[in-house]
């Protein structure tokens, strides 16, 4: 008692005289810092090259800014429309301007939410054959100032002074042209080549002349074409037919010079008189959209801003989600049923034999995925090993089983590929169960089946849980196997993501489907962590 009293009243000191508490804290801090320093390089590496890109991908699933750059005036006054009847001349005029004029790149506040639709500058027309300067300055007076031009001027002359091999110089110039366009327009992959040349012939201080404005006009016009193509694709997602409507009427609208625009547009293409196309605009008005997510589950916004089902012929995704879930479930269960006895055998055999059998389990695990798929093609195709054997055993030749390029093929191949993921965790749990438990249970009078159900099985549950979740997680995101052996009815959601990434280029939808998939997987990952703990993940 006395000693402890003394220690509370008088702090303990270390050899160099500092209080023990401070010294310990300091050493703790140093130790923490050292650990953090070790982890930092790999962590930063993963954060920049993995976590950030995926986060960036996910933002694409709600991004709808592009269309707001295309239709700023229309969207600014869209809310004034009653949505019951065809819009009046005002909205038609806004749409006409948004589709045909370049003014929106020159005016400063050109994003839909910040637009002043009453600004007379929207209605000024730039003569197609020039002179451009006066009209463009009338639209946006700040372009008269050399200072407005200086950021793009800097880019152009810096690139022109680049040194290096011919290829490098060319590359630098191309990049500069992209960069100039990305400052002037919302596009990052349009090239402003005319401006680049014109800026390099300019001194950077004198008042911008007609030549510069001409280059600006020409480059904006070609960028505009590009943007219009992209945004009409976006509009097409909302209402099929929009792209062709914009494309078809675009050519005719070029010849229209004066109001009334409503009649002119409907004359150019009568679909402008279809209220459905105008209703579709409502869903795109906000720079953030949930439309891609709705689309990913076969739903959409209707004209009253309520969520409704897509028309019947466009409903595919719910079925695909359902199929993905079903395939993963069947594969997981199949793996479990096949893995359980084998794991038991491996865990109970003497080490000599089990090591040999273990190689059978691990060999597919280590073999290239594509090799295994090729191997299965040989086994399961119409003239494959399995069918040949069946024919030899008496199956009529014309009744060869179709086992490849369909649902069955996907399931069989996926089970074989994922089986080791199930065997390994169950095996490692079974190995820790002493055989004496079963013997004790049977000694106490339980029949083997009861002893198994009541004594052995419950102890293997952690392994089953780990294996089931692991297999399910891997199966749900599968892409390669269904793509190669799935045929038409074995495609899963992963294939749809790839399709929208590479073929249809509907990146927003791909990102939305990816996020839903990822969310599901993260939940499973979290459960896995609760059951097994990610620290306990083992390989081989």
């Amino acid at each position: 008692m006395a000693a402890s009293n003394a220690s509370t009243s008088q702090p303990l000191l270390t050899a160099d005289g500092t209080p023990l508490k401070t010294s310990l804290q300091r050493s703790m801090r140093r130790s923490k810092l050292r650990a953090a320093m070790l982890v930092l390089p790999p962590l930063v590496f993963l954060l920049t090259l993995f976590i950030f890109p995926i986060g960036n991908l996910l933002t694409r699933s709600t991004d709808d800014a592009l269309i707001n750059h295309q239709l700023p005036v229309t969207f600014a006054i869209l809310d004034q429309w009653d949505r019951q009847q065809l819009p009046d001349e005002r909205l038609f005029e806004a749409m006409f301007l948004d589709l045909t004029s370049l003014n929106r790149y020159l005016i400063k506040d050109n994003f839909a939410s910040a637009v002043n639709p009453n600004d007379p500058a929207w209605k000024i027309q730039i003569p197609k054959k020039g002179p451009y300067r006066d009209a463009m300055i009338a639209i946006a007076p700040h372009w008269k100032d050399a200072k407005t031009w200086s950021p793009i001027y800097e880019i152009a002359i810096t690139a022109a002074q680049a040194t290096g091999t011919e290829r490098e110089i060319k590359h630098q110039q191309k990049r500069a042209q992209f960069k100039i366009c990305s400052l002037l327009t919302p596009l990052t992959n349009a090239a402003c080549s005319k401006l680049y040349t014109a800026l390099n012939q300019w001194d950077g201080v004198s008042e911008p002349d007609e030549r510069l404005f001409k280059a600006l006009y020409k480059d904006l016009a070609s960028a505009n074409k590009f943007l219009l193509g992209k945004s009409s694709t976006r509009m097409n997602y909302e209402k099929p037919g929009f792209k062709s409507l914009i494309k078809k009427s675009g050519r005719k609208l070029k010849k229209v010079n004066e109001p009334p625009y409503k009649e002119a547009m409907i004359k150019a293409d009568k679909r402008w008189g279809d209220i459905g196309f105008w209703h579709a605009l409502l869903a795109m008005q906000k720079p953030q959209t949930s439309g891609y997510y709705l689309n990913a589950v076969d739903r959409k916004w209707d004209e009253n801003r309520e969520v409704v089902m897509q028309p019947e012929e466009r409903q595919v995704y719910v079925m695909l989600w359902w199929r993905t879930f079903l395939v993963s479930l069947i594969v997981t269960l199949g793996c479990l049923i096949l893995a359980y006895p084998v794991s038991h055998l491996l865990a109970t055999l003497p080490l000599k034999y089990s090591n040999l059998l273990m190689i059978c389990v691990l060999m597919p695990f280590w073999t290239s995925l594509l090799v295994r798929i090729v191997a299965w093609m040989i086994m399961l195709q119409q003239q494959g090993v399995v069918n040949d054997t069946l024919v030899m055993l008496g199956l009529p030749d014309e009744h060869r089983l179709p086992m490849m390029y369909n649902f069955t093929g996907t399931i069989i191949v996926m089970i074989q590929i994922l089986l080791p993921f199930m065997i390994l965790p169950i095996y490692s749990v079974m190995k820790t169960i002493p055989p004496s438990y079963m013997r004790a249970a049977q000694n106490l009078g339980a029949p083997p089946s009861l002893a198994f159900l009541k004594v052995y099985m419950p102890q293997t549950l952690p392994g089953i849980g780990a294996g089931v979740i692991l297999v399910f997680i891997v199966a749900i995101g599968y892409y390669i196997t269904p793509e190669l052996v799935g045929g038409k009815d074995g495609r899963l959601i992963g294939n749809m993501v790839a399709y929208h990434m590479q073929k249809s280029l509907n990146w927003g939808l791909a990102a939305a489907m990816g996020s839903i998939l990822l969310a599901g997987i993260l939940i499973l990952y979290w459960i896995y962590d609760k059951i097994v703990g990610i620290d306990n993940m083992k390989l081989g």
């Binding site: 070790l38 090259l49 986060g55 090799v371 620290d535």
Partner: protein, 294 residues
């Protein structure tokens, strides 16, 4: 596990059924890979066992597909595509795999050492981040990297592929090295430090030899992951980045010829070698750390 002598006939029957099931499952796992090997030596361009092969007729076997694989197109009888692509693919895969493995191993060792320290803030979170490339579906990783790499001009470059494969290989190294560090006796490093060894020398002379088995098996996992990776190559690789899996992919999609089977055979043999190495290393590691095999 043998059957006890007092087992009833029903138990005996059940036991044999159980053994048959196990054999069938193991057969199911290995059979397709084994079937590839004989067909790769076939003369015929069809991917099946011909009647001649089943009769073990020596004329039914040849090495022609292996010759095509290494780019020897002198065989007059071949009608399939014959190019150097397999050779180029193997070279590229090896190059990307080796560099990605070296990077992943270095970074992974750092991570594992940090995570195994007694005091590590946010250990769980960091571990989750480190393992996440294993969990996130490749298709999502590939899509994300595609946009990100496009921004930095890394699409269609070897650098881009190497970085991407490093990301995929990193978790394997972290997991295996962390596992070897679990049983690590920290008194050894303390003893070394008390004898005057600096932290760097201490690491290379004391810690490294003990965790080496884990490091090597992690590195092998990372290598095989890169060597086998196809989704990311399809997304961010350009025409110059022909890798072995990519070549196989296009072979499977376009015109499946027995050349693919020759490649597959070689890969199966390679995988057996790798597997054996990892297994031996694991045992060595357990012995070194004093864990007795049960």
């Amino acid at each position: 596990m043998a059957l006890p002598v007092y087992a009833t006939p029903a138990q005996r029957l059940w036991h044999y059924i159980y053994l048959v099931i196990c054999t069938l499952v193991l057969f199911f796992l290995v059979m397709p890979l084994v079937a590839v090997i004989p067909i790769s030596f076939s003369v015929s361009p069809f991917l099946q066992f011909t009647p001649e092969m089943l009769r073990l007729d020596p004329d039914a076997f040849s090495l022609r597909w292996y010759r095509i694989m290494i780019g020897d197109c002198s065989d007059p009888g071949i009608t399939t595509v014959c190019s150097d692509n397999w050779k180029i693919g193997a070279k590229n895969s090896l190059f990307i795999g080796v560099i990605a493995t070296l990077l992943a191993t270095t970074l992974g060792i750092f991570a594992a050492l940090g995570l195994s320290r007694p005091i590590m803030p946010f250990r769980k979170l960091i571990m989750a981040v480190m393992i996440s490339p294993l969990i996130v579906p490749l298709i999502i990783t590939a899509s994300g990297m595609f946009f990100f790499f496009a921004k930095f001009n890394l699409v269609s470059t070897f650098t881009g592929l190497i970085l991407a494969h490093t990301v995929l290989g990193l978790p394997f190294v972290v997991i295996t090295v962390t596992a070897t560090l679990v049983g690590f006796d920290t008194n050894l490093t303390k003893a070394a430090a008390s004898l005057g060894g600096g932290p760097i020398r201490n690491f290379f002379k004391v810690q490294m030899p003990l965790i080496l088995p884990g490091v090597i098996s992690g590195a092998l996992f990372a290598f095989i992951t890169s060597f086998d990776e196809v989704v990311i190559v399809l997304f961010i690789g350009g025409p110059e980045q022909i890798t072995l899996p990519r070549q196989m992919w296009s072979g499977i999609r376009q015109e499946i010829s027995p050349t693919i089977l020759s490649v597959a055979t070689i890969l199966v043999i390679l995988s057996i070698c790798l597997l054996t190495t990892v297994e031996l290393l694991r045992r060595r590691s357990e012995r070194l750390r004093g864990i007795r095999p049960t």
